[in-house]
Structure formats: structure tokens, C-alpha cells
């Protein structure tokens, strides 16, 4: 693997809020890249992958959807509950602050594993909204 390729992966990770990544390039040929950032996910109301433990490689199973704004939460078209199937890009709800309304989206297909909010609740920065089992 070229240094330039690693550099590009590094930049892409930084831009997308990933702090570490492990790539399999062939048998017994793994590369792990870790950014020098605290191990917290950044939140955009978008889904962010939760990695399984490192021994099992980069298996994406669940995503946590958190708030990066402060305001009142409300559901979108339907009040989601555990077991509901959601589609990539679907709007799950919104956060209404004093000067904005931010949509909460999921960027992957999956099934709701837990609902951590209720309508009218004040959600603050970093607050867990949903956990989604992804396909």
C-alpha cells in the first residue's frame, strides 16, 4: 500500500469522524489506522458506525444516532419503536432549536434496536437518540 493511499484514507477518516479503521488487504495482511482524536463519535444526526471488537475486524453491526444540536425533539411521519424497519436516508425525527430545525436521518438500512427519546423532550449535544441494527 502506498503512503499516498494511506494519507487519503486518513483524510477521509478525519473528514467523516472516524477515529480508527482496520483494512484487510489479503491473508495476514491487515492495516490499522488510528487518528489522534478522542474516541468519541461526532454527531450530525447521521448514523455513525459502531465497530465490533477489534479481534473480529471491522464488522459494522449497530449505529448510534446522537444529537449535535440542542432543542426539542419530535418524530417525523411515524413514532418509531423497537423492531421498526428504517430505510437509508429516512428522516426519523427533528430537533427544533431557537433558530433552526435539524432533521435526524439514518444513512443506512436497518432495524430500530432502541428508542432513547420521546416527543417534546429537550435533547442536548451528544444525547443518544436511537440505536439501529444495520443490515
Amino acid at each position: 500500500m502506498e503512503v499516498e493511499q494511506i494519507r487519503r484514507i486518513y483524510e477521509a477518516m478525519d473528514a467523516n469522524g472516524f477515529s480508527n479503521i482496520e483494512l484487510e488487504l489479503g491473508e495476514d495482511n491487515k492495516i490499522r489506522i488510528q487518528l489522534d482524536v478522542p474516541p468519541v463519535v461526532t454527531y450530525t444526526g447521521e448514523a455513525l458506525p459502531v465497530f465490533a471488537d477489534e479481534a473480529n475486524g471491522p464488522v459494522r453491526t449497530q449505529v448510534e444516532i446522537r444529537s449535535d444540536k440542542v432543542g426539542f425533539f419530535s418524530f417525523a411521519d411515524r413514532q418509531l419503536k423497537v423492531g421498526d424497519r428504517i430505510k437509508k436516508g429516512e428522516i426519523l425525527g427533528s430537533i427544533k432549536g431557537i433558530s433552526f430545525q435539524d432533521r435526524v436521518k439514518c444513512s443506512l438500512d436497518g432495524v430500530i434496536a432502541s428508542v432513547e427519546v420521546e416527543p417534546g423532550l429537550i435533547v442536548d449535544y451528544g444525547r443518544l437518540l436511537f440505536v439501529v441494527n444495520i443490515d
Partner: protein, 466 residues
């Protein structure tokens, strides 16, 4: 009075404001960054909301998130504390436009006083003495040089939007003027995105004296005596006291009248501080106005017997000041030491870290304003202040003795602090005599270091001999 307010700040000052609110029955809403989730202000407030990551620009300076918290939690007013957004006129304006009360002056007053050359011109027009210098800012170096010659060297070239010594150059000799003028302009542009500078006479060894004022919305302005803040290092105050040993009752009256005149000139309401430079002949000159509560406000509270945060809430709520006189005369003497997580032995470098052991001093007339506790991690993301230690005495010497004893009693393990230096100052004959200036720290720092090294080697010898 308000039933609920938001505190747009952290640490010591947030805790300080919460204490007064609790006593007054006003509910408080704290905001915090991810780095501060275990902070005392978060625990003490009635409600607390995370507004962003550790970086100040994404949390404590994040205006949309702060206002969203105020809106969602039904606050009526916002107290900005000091630092962060406290002197940001746009913030004060947006707060008002969103229907909240800003616990501070009107945004236009913040704006005018924030621009140093504008403030200077305003003071000249109001008959407040200012250091001789240029009228407003000067762009052209030759024009500036003419002014510098008129007022006589040494002169200061200062950034119009400046603060904290940035964009400021001392010019001792005429031949260095052009070079240093350009440097000040460059630094002003890079630090404040505003290259305007002005020229002012430089005073050697002045004293830094400031007057606390507070105004209500009915036109009344009161001066609550002065504070002496000459013990500072690179424009950072280390020790403050009230009253000042250099201020006579007559001078106090003159300072108070001048400060009230300055405040009335801009229809000022809420708490503010007018800073003056005082020369050895008792002549004083306007330096700047801070349009917020100051770090060192407790020394004023201790000698004037008023809770300044309470007064701020009262006047912000539209109530008249409960003070008859124009000048509140000081009763006794109060001193404050800012205990910072800095190592004086290596040039006061900040040394944030975990407080492993923490024991605060006590006894009569000893006050500690702090958000620290045992097991608290001082974050490198914010300023390095651990606590403010304030004592009161009937006389200056009694206050100094009490401070000296309290500093010795203060136990903070795990981090280095400024306590050894402050203890040295408390017992220094020049400080005791009351005859000192802003050059005190530079003048006596090497003697302090020598004494510190001596004590350390004696301790080692005692351990070795035991």
C-alpha cells in the same frame, strides 16, 4: 425578579452566580462542554445541558446552542459571567432580540467600549482624563510619528480592537518608531482582523487602579470604591486588593466622580469597571472600561458589603439600585489571590492536571471562590485558574497576615500552583509598605526564584540528614 436564568459560562464564575441565585430563589440552568460534564457548576445548577465538545468555539461560544437551551428550558435572562461571550456585543444584541434579558449592559455600550480608540475619544469628550495621544486611530506612520514627537517618547502603539497586550508595542526611541508601528499594525491585523492602531504616552511604573461601578435602568450610577491591581505579570493580575494603599479619601472621591461621569456618558447600566493608570503624583488617566463583572469583584464585595451578582440581577430586572450614596466607602481591607495551575518556578507555565488532594483554608473572614474539588481534572482547554482566595481584615496588615496564613493552609496536590509566589509577595517589605507599581513582579521575581531554590535545597538537606 427572574424565576430562572441561564449561565453562559463555566467553572468558578458559574458556581459564584449559582450561589447568589440559590439564595435569591432564582432557578439556574447550566451549560457545559463534553470536557466539563463532571464540573461543579453542572452539579450545582437546577438543570444542565451539554452544548458541544471541549473546544470553546464549539461550546461556550456556540451562540445558537446556548440560546436554544435558554429557549427550551424557559429561561428569562442570561448571565454571561466574564470571558467567553461576556464582552461580545453581537451576543448581547441577539440575546435581547430573542426576547431574553442580557444580565449586563446594553450591547451598544459594549461595542463602543470594546473599541479602544472610540472609547478614548468618548472619554475625552466627556471630560475624563486620558493619556496624551492621538485622536482616534492613525493609519499613516508619518502622521503617527508627528504625534509621538509631540507627546514625547516613550510611547505605546496600541491596537484599536486590542486586549491582553496583543497588537501593542512600546517605543522607547524615535529611530525604532516606524518598525514597531508596522509590527503593531501587523499583529493587530492578525489577532483582531483590524489593523487600526493609535498612539499614547507611555507611563513608567504606573499603578493599575480600577473603579467598580454599577448603574440601574433609571439613570442612577454608583461607584463601589476602587481596586488596586498592580501586582500583575504580563497584564495578568495575580493579586488584587480594595481599597488601594495609594488612594486617599480625596483621590477616591475624584476617581469615583470621574468613573460615574464616564458611565453616564454612555447611559451605562449594570456592572462595569473603569481602569485607570495612576502616576506617583496622584494623577490618573482613563485606560479602558470592562463592560462585565470582573474576576476580582469579591474584594469590592468584602469591603462594600454588597453582593455584586445580586445587584446585577436586580438592575437587569429593572429594579432601582438599593444604594443611596454615589460612592460606597470601603470598610476595612480585602485582598484576593488568584490561585492558578501554573508553575512559578518555570516562568508561570500552565500545568493543568488532576487535583489529587485538596484542602481549602478556613477561619474568620476567609472566602474561597472555586469550582475545584479533590479528584477534579483541570482541563487544558480552558484557563488555568483553580480558585480565588479572598480575605478581609480591619486594617491592611491584618488582611495581609490573614492571607499569608490562609495561603499556608491551602493544600493542593497533583498540580503546581502560584501559591509560593503569592506567599512571597504577602511577606515582601515593598508590598507590605504599600509602595509598589506594576513593575513589582519583574523587579522581585529573580529574588523569589533564588529563595525558592534555597528552600528546596534546605528541604533536601533536611531529608538527607534525617
Amino acid at each position: 425578579m427572574f424565576s430562572k436564568i441561564l449561565i453562559a459560562n463555566r467553572g468558578e464564575i458559574a458556581v459564584r452566580i449559582i450561589r447568589t441565585c440559590r439564595r435569591m430563589g432564582v432557578k439556574t440552568v447550566a451549560v457545559y462542554s463534553e470536557a466539563d460534564q463532571n464540573s461543579l457548576h453542572v452539579k450545582m445548577a437546577d438543570e444542565a445541558y451539554c452544548i458541544g465538545p471541549a473546544r470553546p468555539d464549539m461550546s461556550y461560544l456556540n451562540i445558537p446552542n446556548i440560546l436554544s437551551v435558554a429557549h427550551a428550558s424557559n429561561c428569562e435572562a442570561i448571565h454571561p459571567g466574564y470571558g467567553f461571550l461576556s464582552e461580545n456585543p453581537s451576543f448581547a444584541e441577539i440575546v435581547e432580540k430573542c426576547g431574553f434579558v442580557f444580565i449586563g449592559p446594553e450591547y451598544r455600550a459594549i461595542e463602543r467600549m470594546g473599541q479602544k480608540s472610540v472609547a478614548r475619544d468618548l472619554m475625552i469628550r466627556s471630560g475624563v482624563p486620558v493619556m496624551p495621544g492621538s485622536q482616534g486611530s492613525v493609519e499613516d506612520v508619518n502622521e503617527a510619528l508627528v504625534i509621538a514627537r509631540q507627546i514625547g517618547f516613550p510611547v505605546l502603539v496600541k491596537a484599536t480592537s486590542g486586549g491582553g497586550g496583543k497588537g501593542m508595542r512600546l517605543v522607547e526611541r524615535e529611530e525604532d518608531f516606524a518598525k514597531l508601528f508596522a509590527m503593531a499594525q501587523g499583529e493587530a491585523e492578525s489577532s483582531f482582523a483590524d489593523k487600526r492602531v493609535y498612539v499614547e504616552k507611555y507611563m513608567r511604573n504606573p499603578r493599575h487602579i480600577e473603579v467598580q461601578i454599577i448603574g440601574d435602568r433609571h439613570g442612577k450610577v454608583v461607584a463601589l470604591g476602587e481596586r488596586e491591581c498592580s501586582i500583575q505579570r504580563r497584564h495578568q493580575k495575580l493579586i488584587e486588593e480594595s481599597p488601594s494603599p495609594a488612594v486617599s479619601p480625596e483621590l477616591r472621591r475624584q476617581l469615583a466622580e470621574t468613573a460615574i461621569k464616564a458611565a453616564k456618558a454612555i447611559n451605562y447600566h449594570n456592572a462595569g469597571t473603569i481602569e485607570f493608570l495612576l502616576d506617583s503624583d496622584g494623577k490618573f488617566f482613563f485606560m479602558e472600561m470592562n463592560t462585565r463583572l470582573q474576576v476580582e469583584h469579591p474584594v469590592t464585595e468584602m469591603v462594600c458589603n454588597f453582593d455584586l451578582v445580586e445587584l446585577q440581577l436586580l438592575v437587569a430586572a429593572g429594579e432601582p439600585l438599593p444604594i443611596e450614596a454615589d460612592l460606597v466607602e470601603p470598610h476595612g481591607w480585602a485582598i484576593e489571590c488568584r490561585i492558578n495551575a501554573e508553575d512559578p518556578a518555570i516562568g508561570f507555565v500552565p500545568c493543568p492536571g488532576l487535583i489529587e488532594k485538596y484542602l481549602v483554608p478556613g477561619g474568620p473572614w476567609v472566602r474561597v471562590d472555586s469550582a475545584a474539588y479533590q479528584g477534579y481534572l483541570i482541563s487544558s482547554n480552558y484557563d488555568s485558574m483553580v480558585a480565588k482566595l479572598i480575605v478581609w481584615g480591619r486594617t491592611r496588615n491584618e488582611a495581609l497576615d490573614r492571607m499569608s496564613a490562609a495561603l499556608q493552609e491551602y493544600e493542593i496536590k497533583g498540580i503546581e500552583t502560584t501559591i509560593p509566589f503569592q506567599l512571597y509577595v504577602m511577606n515582601h517589605p515593598d508590598f507590605r509598605s504599600g509602595n509598589f507599581s506594576t513593575s513589582f513582579v519583574d523587579k522581585h521575581f529573580s529574588a523569589f526564584l533564588a529563595e525558592l531554590n534555597e528552600n528546596n535545597s534546605q528541604e533536601k538537606a533536611a531529608v538527607a540528614g534525617a
